[in-house]
């Protein structure tokens, strides 16, 4: 009984992400020495007159998320996200996502095997039903790439701080459900395929207070604050279409 694709929630995810961001930050700090040369550009700004793909624009994103780590019920979370980009590096906004539960193989296997020992047993598990979260997003890394030597691509890596409401649903009546406060963080990548369209992917960790499942006596077991990891993909549309240029 091994299940390779389901994943376990890990509260330390944010810590790991922080470590990775710290390493990249240290990289940026040390990278300056690799470029330091005594020439006419010494002391001049690293970036000038660059196109700003986010500053002063509205972003609406159609997203679909997948929970990562729910052992019993995986949740597909279609929804939408909005960002108002105050600066090229800072935005505020929110997201709404609705959960569609999908039972995992583990759920079915437990339901089948425990029922053979206890005929009154009915497997129940919780899942995310609804997410309504506001966020502040910072884009600390902004760059451009060239794919296959011909396709220019702009991108950014952003970090979101999340807060709002999360609703928990259950497949039965024995588990506590309802709406609760949810906090979290996310890290994401936004790849611009044109001036107004971008492909996005985000990994977010949000907190909910819930039990994962009942035990073999059909009683709620292990209710506590858990981090739910969600991997999201989306298509973003930016308005107005005209880009600003930095000084």
């Amino acid at each position: 009984m091994m299940f390779s694709l389901a994943r376990q929630p890990r509260p330390a995810l944010i810590v790991r992400l922080a470590v990775v961001c710290g390493l990249i930050g240290a990289t940026l700090l040390t990278a300056g020495s690799a470029h330091a040369e005594d020439d006419v550009l010494a002391g001049s700004p690293v970036l000038r007159r660059n196109l700003q793909y986010r500053a002063g624009r509205h972003e609406v994103t159609a997203i679909v998320g997948f929970t990562v780590g729910d052992p019993y019920i995986r949740t597909i979370l279609p929804g939408a996200r909005y960002d108002l980009h105050l600066f090229d590096w800072l935005s505020v906004g929110g997201r709404l996502q609705f959960g569609v539960p999908v039972q995992s193989d583990t759920y079915a296997e437990i339901d089948k095997k425990v029922t053979t020992q206890n005929e009154t047993f009915v497997m129940e598990a919780t899942s995310l039903r609804f997410l309504g979260l506001g966020h502040v997003s910072v884009s600390p890394l902004v760059g451009k790439m060239l794919a296959f030597s011909r396709l220019p691509i702009q991108f950014d890596v952003h970090v979101d701080l999340l807060g709002g409401l999360a609703s928990v649903a259950s497949t039965g009546d024995a588990l506590t459900t309802g709406i609760g406060l949810s906090l979290g963080a996310a890290v994401g990548l936004r790849v611009f395929i044109s001036d107004i369209i971008a492909i996005t992917t985000d990994l977010q960790a949000i907190s909910t207070d819930r039990a994962l499942s009942v035990n073999r006596d059909s009683k709620e077991s292990g209710k506590k604050l858990r981090f739910n990891n969600i991997l999201s993909f989306g298509v973003a549309f930016f308005m107005p279409p005209k880009l600003q240029r930095a000084d």
């Binding site: 040390t30 970036l47 052992p71 437990i110």
Partner: protein, 312 residues
């Protein structure tokens, strides 16, 4: 009369000679000046000290005094040129002056251009023909019941800018997590465990994407994104008595993506996601196992430095 005619012809011929001589000398002086300028230009282009002499020459002509020419390293030859120039007709002098002014402006423009334009090499980083020694760690992000942390090492030979071949290996530290224990405690079920122990792979990397990024304008960092494909062996805790060969390790393969950040010219920082796959032999039967790992590696280039074919 005949004698008078002879004398008059001689006088006319002599007068014509006197009138024609200065203009012929002027033409000779102009052609001499042209040849000296063209030879100086050649010297300037080859970067020899002749280029400096040309610049001094230009300043002298612009200033228009012999003192300037001497101050700038001028010689008696240059003073002689000034004297030759004084014998030119006004029209030839104006033409010569225009030509020299044009040449001076061109030289000044080139000098300004050299000051203001910095030539970048087409490639910031040369990967081809170099090796990359990698060490790092990764954590499993796909297994709900087992928590696995790997210690990774590898050696890549970058065949060219896009392709690399090499070998990688990992040693695992795996243990069952809370979810696994919950299943045992809450449901009285005891799942069969398959803990990763170690593995080794031969791998190929392809880098289709190169780029750079900045953070708040602090610095520009180069990077490249790559795809990973590998085949090898993985060893787990599940014993297989039937086939001794499988005790060494089960055949495994992996695919993945990575982002290599070029920090210093000798060091890289790579972020990778790999999906390691193998067929595990459980008591209930064979099952395809997918182990997703997210990892971070530090790479050391061998040799640590490189030279461009054409240095700037």
């Amino acid at each position: 009369m005949h004698v008078l005619q002879r004398h008059s012809l001689f006088i006319v011929f002599a007068a014509a000679l006197v009138v024609a001589a200065p203009s012929a000398m002027a033409r000779a002086a102009v052609s001499s000046a042209d040849s000296s300028v063209s030879s100086a230009e050649v010297a300037n282009n080859t970067g020899t000290s002749g280029g400096e002499a040309t610049a001094a020459d230009g300043q002298a002509s612009q200033g228009g005094t012999a003192r300037d020419a001497t101050d700038n390293g001028g010689t008696s030859e240059r003073v002689a040129d000034e004297a030759d120039t004084s014998r030119l007709s006004p029209r030839a002098k104006r033409a010569l002056r225009r030509r020299k002014l044009t040449q001076n402006l061109a030289r000044k423009g080139e000098a300004e251009l050299r000051k203001s334009v910095r030539v970048f090499q087409q490639r910031y980083l040369v990967k081809g023909g170099r090796a990359e020694l990698l060490v790092g760690g990764s954590v499993a992000i796909g297994d709900p019941l087992i928590q696995t942390r790997n210690l990774d090492a590898g050696l890549l030979i970058h065949v060219n800018q896009r392709w690399a071949i090499g070998a990688s290996a990992f040693y695992s530290f795996a243990a069952q997590n809370d979810a696994f224990e919950n299943i045992q405690r809450d449901f009285g079920l005891f799942p069969e465990r398959s803990l990763l122990q170690a593995g080794g792979f031969l791998e190929v990397q392809f880098s289709p994407i190169f780029g750079k990024f900045s953070s708040f304008g602090m610095a520009v960092v180069q990077m490249d994104a790559y795809l990973i494909g590998a085949v090898g062996l993985m060893k787990t805790t599940v014993p297989i008595e039937a086939d001794a060969a499988l005790q060494v390790g089960r055949p495994a393969w992996q695919v993945g993506v990575g982002l290599r950040i070029h920090t210093l010219r000798a060091l890289t920082l790579s972020v990778e996601i790999r999906d390691m796959m193998m067929v595990e032999h459980f008591q209930a039967g064979e099952r395809l196992m997918q182990h997703w790992f997210g990892g971070l590696k530090i790479g050391l280039w061998i040799p640590p430095t490189f030279d461009y074919k054409h240095q700037r």
